[in-house]
Amino acid sequence: MTVGRRQLAKPRSSVVIAATALWLSGCQGMQSALDAAGPQAARISDLWWVMLAVCAAVFVLVLGVLLYAVFRSRRSDREVADPHAERRMTMAVGGAVAVTVVILFVLLIASVFAGRGLSSLSTGGALTIEVTGHQWWWEIRYADPLPSQHVVTANEIHIPVGRPVVLKLASQDVIHSFWVPNLHGKRDLIPGHLTTLSLQADRPGVYRGQCAEFCGYQHALMAFMIVAEPADAFSAWLDQQRRPAAQPVDDMQRRGQEVFLSSPCMMCHTIRGTPAGGKVAPDLTHLASRRMLAAGTLPNTPGALAGWIIDPQNLKPGNKMPAHHFDPAELQALLAYLVSLK
């Protein structure tokens, strides 16, 4: 990025203010309601700026009048006794109330129109994705009429850019809330209720989402990624996810698969194409293709994976994955196998 001459010419104080603002606000935009990447988030952020402007004006005005009322200079006590003053005050208060009503009405209309905008997303040709909340991870399913074409994954949702997506939301245990601020507001996942959320990404990118309804110990670290990518990249990803797990290609990986299948891992996790068919924990068929581990908490690196397997309770206290002791050779083999599950 080049810095233009006009920017350099700005007074120093504004640079300081800007730097302070930047320091305070951070510069991450991957989970921000103000950095819209889809039509709905854009509408909401427009509504926010309108309301902010109106409310800021009201705030300044009310506080200004208040301070003037307190600190205005008073000529004498007689001014207080002025009978016209009371009448004028009645008019002023009445007028202020009338203006309040008008402002509220305007904001109400703005809100209703923004609401209509949110629900006007056409869902023709939409991609349907089922999202199930678990304590404390997200199960993602791409349903297909052919059972063999089902895709099950966890904590990472790929969507095609520019195409509406309908998310069918359900919960397996307690109430969770699905929220990707860059794309849309939140929708609760309520046991016994099926809810839906329609959204669309207008530009490619990785957007982070996070559970927004308190759901127990690891509510704080129950995140997921939405990867918005061009249609062809998306179909390539989906095709790849449909395949059963990669077979081990060397002794190390074969040893690792044996370790997996002979340890408690397989009680909870599924790896399609192997006997491991546990349903209570994330599907690991294509574990190595994901960006993050442990519901958006750790980068998907062999080191982080090893740390997670050895001591998950240290990284996310209270989560439902028990620690399991492997001797170093077993662990190395297991990692080699898991890392091969592209």
Partner: protein, 639 residues
Amino acid sequence: MAQVGEAGVAVAFDDSDRQALEQTWRSPTGLWGWLSNADHRAIGKRIIATAFLFFLLGGTLALLMRAQLARPESRFLGPDLYNQIFTIHGTTMMFLFAVPIMQGLGVYLVPLMVGTRNIAFARLVAFSYYLFLFGGIMLYVAFLLNIGPDVGWFSYVPLAGPEYGPGKRADFWAQLITFTELSSLSIAVALIVTIFHLRAPGMSLNRIPLFVWSILVMSMMVIFAMPSVMLASTMLIMDRLVGTHFFNPAEGGDALLWQHLFWFFGHPEVYIIFIPALGIVSSVIATFSRRQIFGYTAIVLSLVSTAFMGFGLWVHHMFATDVPQLGQSFFTAASMMIAIPSGVQIFCWIATLWGGRPRLQTPLLFVLGFFFVFVLGGLTGVMLAAVPFDLQVHDTFFVVAHFHYVLIGGAVFPLFGGLYYWCPKITGRMLSERVGRWNFWLLFVGFNLTFFPMHQLGLEGMPRRVYTYLAEMGWDRLNLLASLGAALIALGVVVFIGNVLWSYRHGAIAVGNPWQAGTLEWATNSPPPPYNFLHMPTISGREPLWECNAEQPIVTGLRHNIREVLVTNVLDAEPDHRTRLPGPSIWPFFTALAVSGLFVGSIFTPWAVPVGSIPITGALIGWLWPSEKDHQDQLAMEE
């Protein structure tokens, strides 16, 4: 028969009358006497002091949370402890601090402001105090044993239900609700009856001080809102204890039912806390502007309409559930509409200040702080009423910022102003003005430093109720700022405590009416004698002390050897009949003990209900058993 006599009669009172009143109304001494006391000033002071203690405890928990969130991925508190802390912080502030302290102020001030000698049903109020105290102790004992509730002050099912909330944690929460709501309900009844029937002759409805109006409206709201949450918490404890399935979708129950019941109470709860604070603001503004409040009728109608509307917006806590869109629009409109009565009051107060000659003393300073903070919080509230925007920031730090702006701004700032204002009446000593200013500025700057950045955090995607966050989220700086602000708030509160303690010994002696205020609580000594007023007053205006009418009659003809007061009618406060108020009794204390036994026991076994009823029955029989003195007093009155 009591009658309204001429002012000249006053001279007829002599020291023997004063002594007789003193003898009749004095509080018993010793530990036994302390436990039997049924004097509104003593009980009011206890409620205020106990609630303030819980405020300090809840505030300490807040500081622990801010310490944890000051840095990303901090290991200071784990999720188990953090969840308990935020649950108990919210529960304490709502149920053990905010509602009780407002009711405590009401218990202390209302009988003085309406010009009578004690609160109606004083024993019931004493009973309520012990219940509130025991409930609070139960919660903190559970917390110290590390089995405190950890599912939030809202205890959403199924997380709080039998399947996902093992142990007894959510049960402690549910029973705390039963304790505190029973206590608030009883106090509300006592306050309503006092306001309706023990007013000084002449204090017709349109002359009731605005603080008393606010207490009346709040008490009415308590009566309509609290049953909903008591019902909900009882259903929750039954789901957990005896396997009913009110909230279990697998057995035909519904998880959303809880949210409706809870917020049907939970939203009015906010106004229950905030409406008395509006009464404080009105009192302080009138006194420190040195003029009658502008728009008395408009303010009263605003209070009443706020109370009505407060029951019609609970669904705005549930916009992210599957409430249909039409329903959402209704609740959006209702939530925005409630800004109108608040606006009316704010404009009336500004007009009062405009037309008066303001004295910028500490109580008014806190009220000005209230304007700044509360107006900001009110405006973000209007924003939150808009469903699309709410969907983004619901359950984020934006909402945390919003409701701390309305609750601390709307209730705690006026409360501190009110304490500076009425402390001289309660303790007989003036608080230091200079320290008061330090107190205000520390609190004001600290508050804004803590909570303003949270708006930004919410917009940047930080959800509420998280015990930690990842370093790469970029939320660390604003969180650090908020934690530093919290330290300033703590300092401000310490300065306040220092001021109270110092002034209690060394403060300037307060005269009866140190602020030249206009309402009746200032017409007696500071602190008031046990009988409140030597001469039971009558009034002929809203600010009786400003009217300086030497010919104002007083009430005569009430016996001095019996706790006798004048009962007046609801509308015009015309004298109706005399009644005898109850004296001290140990039984409210024993009854509260017995009821607490049942409540705590029923956390562990359903048998506590039938077995626990036996001591309650015994205690109630003791309470209602007529004493020899009751009998003689009754005979004397019938003569």
